[in-house]
């Protein structure tokens, strides 16, 4: 069963830029309460959308450069990439149903 991949500088290219499917990247930090609340939701979505959408996580404390590159100034930020480029940016906690709508819109 698919779980979100831990993304860092050295694997960002392979997992996000060169992906053949859309990728949802969860920007988070251990001190961010809402990030910890959205994490299990992202885990569930990773399983449900297996094969259709890939999932990854970026710890902004460990990888501030990736966060800075994509203009992440508030977390949680869920950025959906398609063809290596951001196509959607969801800032702040959202319930599962709302996230599914965003994912389905990217697939649609």
């Amino acid at each position: 069963m698919s779980k979100p991949v831990n993304i860092k500088e050295d694997n960002f290219d392979k997992i996000v830029t060169k992906a053949t499917t859309p990728v949802l990247v969860d920007f988070w930090a251990p001190w961010c309460g809402p990030c910890l609340m959205v994490a299990p939701v992202v885990d569930q979505l990773a399983a449900e959308y297996e094969g259709k959408i890939a999932f990854g996580k970026v710890n902004v404390d460990e990888c501030p450069q990736i966060a800075g590159k994509y203009g992440v100034m508030s977390i949680p930020s869920l950025i959906i990439f398609k063809g290596g480029v951001p196509v959607a940016n969801i800032v702040g906690f959202r319930p599962k149903e709302q996230l599914k709508k965003s994912l389905d819109a990217v697939l649609g």
Binding site: C32, L36, M37, G71, I75, V91, G92, F93
Partner: protein, 312 residues
Amino acid sequence: MAENTRMIDKRYDVVIIGGGPAGLSAAIYCSRGRLSTLLLERALVGGQIVNAEQVDNYPGFPTGINGLELTQQMHCQADRYGLETVYAEATALELCGTQKLVSTTEGIYTARAVIIACGSQRQKLGIPGEDEFTGKGVSYCATCDAAFFRDKTVALVGGGNAALSEALHLSRFADRVIVIHRRERLRATPVVQEKAFATGNIEFRLNAVVTAIEGEEFVSRVKLRHVGSGEESYLPVSGIFIAIGFKPNTDFLRGLLPLDEKGAVITGDGMQTAISGIFAAGDIRRNSIRQVIAAAGDGAIAAVSAEKYLTE
């Protein structure tokens, strides 16, 4: 937002609107009191305190407690006594005889008593650029977002205790924090003001208001107007934190209950409102001190009042 007009069959003793500490405390007391209780929450259980990494003033935790952890435990406690939780947003509250109908995004719930614990949200400035740049340099939570402004110059709008304590927090990350307040004097208590004045990288622009937030992809500057002279100027900043106060989340009530001049619900000592069987707890109330322990206290009192109302 889509309203679901489906009537939910089950009749509850109590519906609690809002899953922050006020609602969670009420939920514990109601469920443990064997009342059939439903908690409605539109986003995440825990409310605003989930953003606090360490709460040092909630009684019982001498070394502090993480805000998320504290509220998760409250929720578990209520679950233990049979609480039901539905993730939905309340859109209206109506009366039907002694029954209360709560319209939500997931359907219409019926209860004999309702506890309104929806809290409040940060007041907006209402100026151009504010919405466009939210999340791109405009923030309403210094504890949440300070880390993203390391070594940068940021503005903070506000003059009360909350504003200055946010400025102090920001000063640990940002290179410069410029506090902008529309009056000559700050509203914060003297002790807090002194601390801010003594902090080297906090500056003050008094008698000034922000009239616009500008930038390309992200915020790069704000437009200021001097209150006295009307003189306008630009202040280059990478971010702007807005801390001008809180607005109670009472819009959905649509005039059902008397509200004070700030839109807060007016209650009696037992958290009762003007309508029999409807109670309010937490930051949504008039003169709330905006502390978790006060919200939890309100929730417990509201639950006891509700129980009394239901058994009379």
